[in-house]
């Protein structure tokens, strides 16, 4: 028994504590979970809950665009489809447990995603992006068309809440966020020996023709990434519907799709933690500025200026830059070390070339 605990401790130390980037992630998760102990202000909890929902949403976009190179300008489709499915199910079948409704919503989002992914197979680059832009618009059109079912432009109401208290809502949603982000990260980790999906996606992103030449069925994996991305986007949309208790066509807005992209790019595309970072930095910044009377007016202008500055000077994202500052990769064994070390922690090779 104690052997098992020791083994667990060793894994923990090796996988997490020795890698500075992951330490930051761990600290971040702990702080998120401890937040209700610091403040119980409902507005603060609400903002952080929205941040968690949008973190899942942005991470699911990153999974599609950062890892397979298919820039999806209409990601709100998954979010909105799932939110409406959850809304419709919850209203017509009262007391449907939220986990069931959210799963159903995510499945609906995946189906729509695959439907959207099919024309995407023949298209490439900008054509793909611009076609994906139109899907949420078309879905909005359907929603307005079947207004008796969907409540038209006003939306649906009467969705059952996740729980009775704001704090329990907060914990449920943040635990879902942590879990989803970790799952998404593990799925796309190119270093994993067990799950090969990450390596394959990286190969497709870098050079699709070469990947095909190596025997990888790119079509299947591109559709798979659409499906996974749609699933997690749907999870975000589903819990949004339960949290807000109403759903309206604003979940399909074009600007909402763009926001996912902007958040992810700030944090760093091609890394799941990048999009989470982007959301927590930028969304919280814009929201907390609302407390200041002048800030309330100019917060979106500041948002745009910060985005432009980052895109000009740090287009790879803030996470990559931070990682570069605190980590260094050993040239021999490719293990990540703390930047202050002189020798690699596993193979002992010198980390820097001395004069």
């Amino acid at each position: 028994m104690t052997n098992y605990i020791f083994w667990l401790y060793h894994v923990f130390r090796e996988q997490i504590l020795d890698i500075p980037g992951r330490v930051i992630a761990l600290v971040f998760f702990i702080l998120i979970l401890l937040l209700p102990l610091i403040t119980k202000e409902p507005i603060v909890l609400r903002i952080f809950t929205f941040a968690a929902i949008f973190a899942i949403y942005a991470a699911s976009w990153d999974l599609l665009a950062g890892f397979t190179g298919q820039v999806n300008l209409g990601h709100a489709l998954f979010f909105g489809a799932s939110a409406y499915t959850v809304g419709l199910l919850s209203i017509h079948f009262h007391n449907l447990p939220p986990w069931f409704a959210v799963s159903a919503g995510s499945v609906a989002a995946v189906m729509l995603g695959l439907l959207a992914g099919l024309p995407a197979l023949r298209l490439r680059g900008f054509y793909l992006s611009l076609v994906t832009l139109s899907f949420p618009v078309i879905l909005s059109g359907f929603i307005l068309l079947f207004h008796e079912l969907t409540g038209g432009e006003v939306g649906l109401y009467g969705i059952r809440p996740l729980s009775n208290s704001r704090i329990i809502d907060y914990y449920i949603i943040n635990l879902i966020m942590i879990f989803s982000v970790l799952v998404m990260w593990k799925l796309t980790d190119a270093r994993s020996k067990i799950i090969r999906l990450g390596v394959i996606l990286a190969a497709i992103r870098e050079d699709e023709i070469a990947a095909r030449a190596s025997g990888i069925q790119t079509t299947k994996y591109k559709l798979l990434s659409f499906a996974i991305s749609g699933f997690f986007g749907g999870v975000a949309g589903g819990i949004y519907a339960h949290f807000m208790r109403t759903v309206g066509p604003s979940v399909l807005e074009m600007t909402f799709s763009f926001e996912a992209i902007l958040w992810t790019i700030l944090g760093g595309m091609g890394t799941i933690y990048g999009s989470v970072t982007g959301v927590y930095i930028l969304y919280l910044f814009v929201e907390f500025l609302r407390f200041h009377p002048i800030g309330e007016q100019i917060r979106f202008v500041l948002f745009a200026i910060i985005m432009i500055l980052f895109l000009l000077f740090m287009p790879q994202g803030i996470c990559v830059w931070v990682r570069h500052k605190i980590e260094i990769q050993c040239r021999r064994c490719k293990i990540i070390n703390l930047v202050t070390r002189h020798y690699c922690r596993s193979c002992g090779a010198p980390l820097r070339l001395e004069r």
């Binding site: 054509y127 611009l130 076609v131 832009l133 618009v137 095909r212 948002f303 432009i308 895109l311």
Partner: protein, 290 residues
Amino acid sequence: MIELIIINGLVYGGVYAVLTLGFSLVFGVAKLLNLAYTAYYMICGFIIFVLATILGVDLIPSIIVAILITCLLGMISYEVCLARVKEHEVTVLIISVALAILFQELFLLIFGGDYRRIPPFVTGFLEIAGVRVTYQHFIAIGICLITLISVGLLLSKTKLGYAIRAVAQDREIANLMGINVDRVYILTMVISVALAGIACAVVSPIFMVHPLMWVHSLIIVLAAAVLGGLGSIRGSVIAAFILAFTEVAVVTLVPGGSFLRGAVSLGVMIVVLIVKPEGLFGIVFEEERL
């Protein structure tokens, strides 16, 4: 019924074609998907609004000044933002979106979100085959034709036009041949922004200016550019007309569904792209086709 569709389709098509021209030009030459294109169109509109409506300057001089200022702004934003990142296509896309949002929020802050009017060139309408079309719409079509022809002449007859076409075909060889590629990029940017300005001058008396006008126009411009084939100017103009006819057909034949006209035109675009993935007149290299 049918004359309604034809005439209104021509009217709307002219308007959309004017909007799409500049976007296609800059993409065809510099391969920059500049989503802030319609934001320049909005900026020009607001400058005209400030000059003509608030300050009371005459319409034609205020339009000329507005176009000049917008071109300057376009050049500055190109130099500052787009030039250094033009290698990375996705970054260009995103930075142009951020730029458009910046302009939108600035104008929202200064002017508020309500629709503002621009004085029209002429008031009044003409009746053709029972269909009434305002003179302003005619001017829009007329200007579209004139700009199309002049841009066509520019590209085919002048030295600058040759340079632009050369850079569009193959940037590196053009550079080797002694063409100053950076200068060509800047000039193309200026021409494109000027086209956006002209589009604004003729279209905003019909549409009215407001800080969110770039969103709707962007969807039309993108749909037309993609449908016609990115990089083909002829294609984007024809596609603009196709989309306009679709919209007008929806409005006329299915009046209860005229709110769907945006969605239907996008649907048409998707269908065409499934059949022909590079658009109607798009250029694709055989080795890129999978």
